[in-house]
């Protein structure tokens, strides 16, 4: 998805990660983020990716990548295999988002998860005024062909974490690139942010 590809967004993630960390990027695409983090934070990165062309691009960058599916293959990693796992704009495309989140906090100490926020005011307005499923530059698929199976709002995500015994440690504002300690649900975040990004861990 095109939502997340700027250096600034990479930078927010980079700021949450200590140097030299062991990291798995789930749905790592062509490995750009891992490459960025390797250069900036000297991380030891691994990727999981479903698309063969993208895997080839990762390998050519010298990134270790496993062909696999977040819904199926995370189970193969032992507990605490990594310091951090990263799941950017992939949660909504998984078959079982709850299980995937639980796996992430099992295989790593902490997980960084980002997703498009369906509570964003423009999406609400679009549905209210047009009465059709929102299609924008960032969410460019029509409802009948979208690979995104499970859209949620920031509130939905927070509720799911509570239900799954997952602790939310930090929240990131991808608009102004701030990282704050998470305290409680914030109505404005849910209304004003196009996407959510959180640092989570197992309670």
């Amino acid at each position: 998805m095109s939502l997340f590809n700027t250096d600034k967004d990479f930078n927010v993630i980079s700021n949450m990660i200590p140097s030299g960390a062991n990291i798995i990027d789930v749905g790592c695409g062509d490995g750009s983020l891992l490459d960025y983090l390797a250069k900036k934070k000297n991380i030891n990165g691994r990727g999981l990716e479903i698309d063969q062309d993208k895997i080839r691009e990762c390998l050519a960058k010298g990134i270790a990548v496993m062909q696999g599916d977040a819904d199926i293959d995370l189970i193969d990693y032992p507990n605490k295999s990594f310091d951090y796992s990263i799941l950017t704009y992939t949660l909504q495309a998984t078959k079982k988002p709850k299980e995937v989140l639980e796996e992430l906090v099992r295989i790593s100490d902490k997980a960084i998860v980002s997703f498009p926020n369906f509570g964003y005011w423009k999406i609400r307005l679009n549905l209210l005024l047009n009465g059709t499923m929102p299609v924008s530059d960032d969410l460019s698929y029509s409802w009948y062909e979208t690979p995104n199976l499970h859209f949620c709002t920031i509130f939905d995500f927070i509720n799911l974490c509570e239900e799954s015994n997952i602790k939310i440690e930090k929240k990131c504002n991808l608009k102004n690139h701030s990282i704050e300690k998470y305290t409680k649900k914030n109505w404005f975040d849910n209304f004003l942010l196009e996407s959510g990004m959180f640092l989570i861990s197992k309670k």
Partner: protein, 372 residues
């Protein structure tokens, strides 16, 4: 350019001690090389061949006159670039293309070994390869690459000589044969031994050759190298040079004719006893059992960069088997990549023109070479 070299390794005083307890020495190893070993001897890649492969990996085969079995992958400017890397491909011991095997003369009796040749294992083959690498003065292999049985050799290298391997590509392989794998090999062996011309393994002394048995063995094996889909697409129920079935046992169907051809041409280049010995070695291969029931134990000392590859339509060494390997490397926190190439070409895919596979190997090697 390549040349075939036969080197004598080990000796009667300092023999190769085999897993079965017997010793042989000296042994011969026939191998080819391509490209040039650099001054620091850091660009060497060992290529491990499969059951019926040999050292002619990227040069014309002296018997069949065909291109080397991996000449699509290996050569100047190709994915495994011989302008950059120094390629070594030895014929395994037990083989029949110049390395010590059952069709060699037993120095003790002056007669051909036949079934007196000791039963060898994948580990024995690797120990012999290690002697070759030592003799070439190479302290660390940049990469060890092989598919099918060649992949078993790669895994054995990672397990036995971890400090000698910087990177590895085990392809379409397994850490141990399944009952189905063993059953197929047993079918092949029984076909050879049931041929009256086999003469209890002493056919050369009798000036005969168990060609019928060996070709049936090859036919059975060949089926296992293809997928149902590829057989269907290649042949379907098409008839061979005829318009209707003939109510006979001639090759009415194209697929029959094809298999017979595969069998017949195989016997010209392969030795029946070698087939018995090498299939046995594959059946005995079991990294888990040999390491106190733990694959983690088998690979505990390796630090290699590893790329595992499997093929979607391979039912002989399916993706699930290859995933057992990657899962182990993952659990050890190794720098491992895994790719499953989407193809209808079955197990044979690793020998065929699969650009996706070639590019994957190329990208991995190039990037890994920079990490040296």
């Amino acid at each position: 350019m390549s040349k075939n070299t036969i080197v004598e390794l080990a000796s009667s005083k300092n023999p190769l001690v085999l897993d079965c307890g017997k010793s042989i020495g000296p042994i011969k190893t026939a191998y080819t090389t391509y490209g040039k070993l650099n001054d620091s001897k850091s660009n060497a890649i060992l290529i491990c061949h499969a059951l019926t492969g040999d050292q002619y990996v990227a040069s014309e085969h002296p018997i069949t006159k065909k291109d080397g079995w991996w000449s699509l992958l290996i050569g100047p400017g190709k994915s495994i670039d011989t302008d950059k890397y120094f390629i070594i491909c030895p014929n395994v011991i037990g083989g029949c293309m110049g390395s010590t095997g059952p069709n060699e003369k037993n120095p003790k009796t002056g007669r051909e070994y036949g079934l007196d040749f000791p039963v060898i294992t994948i580990a024995d083959m690797v120990k012999a390869q290690k002697l070759l690498i030592d003799s070439l003065g190479i302290k660390k292999l940049f990469s060890v690459i092989g598919g099918s049985m060649g992949g078993m050799l790669v895994l054995e290298w990672l397990s036995k000589f971890p400090s000698l391997v910087f990177s590895a590509i085990p392809i379409a392989t397994t850490t141990s044969h399944s009952a189905q794998n063993i059953a197929l090999n047993e079918l092949a062996r029984q076909a050879i031994m049931a041929d009256p011309e086999w003469k209890s393994g002493n056919y050369n002394e009798h000036n005969t050759k168990p060609t019928k048995g060996l070709s049936v063995a090859r036919m059975a094996a060949h089926i296992s190298y293809l997928s149902e889909q590829s057989l269907h697409e290649k042949f379907g129920r098409n008839l061979q040079d005829k318009t209707k079935i003939e109510f006979s046992f001639d090759a009415d169907f194209q697929v029959e004719s094809y298999l017979r051809h595969q069998g017949f041409k195989f016997v010209d280049r392969f030795d029946a006893n070698s087939y018995l010995y090498i299939t046995r070695a594959m059946d005995y291969f079991d990294l888990k059992t040999d390491n106190n029931g733990s694959l983690l134990e088998a690979f505990k000392d390796t630090k290699a960069h590893i790329l595992c590859a499997s093929f979607t339509s391979d039912w002989l060494y399916p993706t699930s088997e290859n995933k057992v390997i990657t899962k182990t490397f993952n659990a050890l926190g190794l720098n491992v990549s895994f790719v499953e190439i989407d193809t209808d070409n079955g197990h044979d895919s690793f020998l065929l023109n699969e650009p996706e596979f070639f590019h994957t190997v190329e990208g991995f090697l190039d990037a890994t070479y920079k990490k040296l």
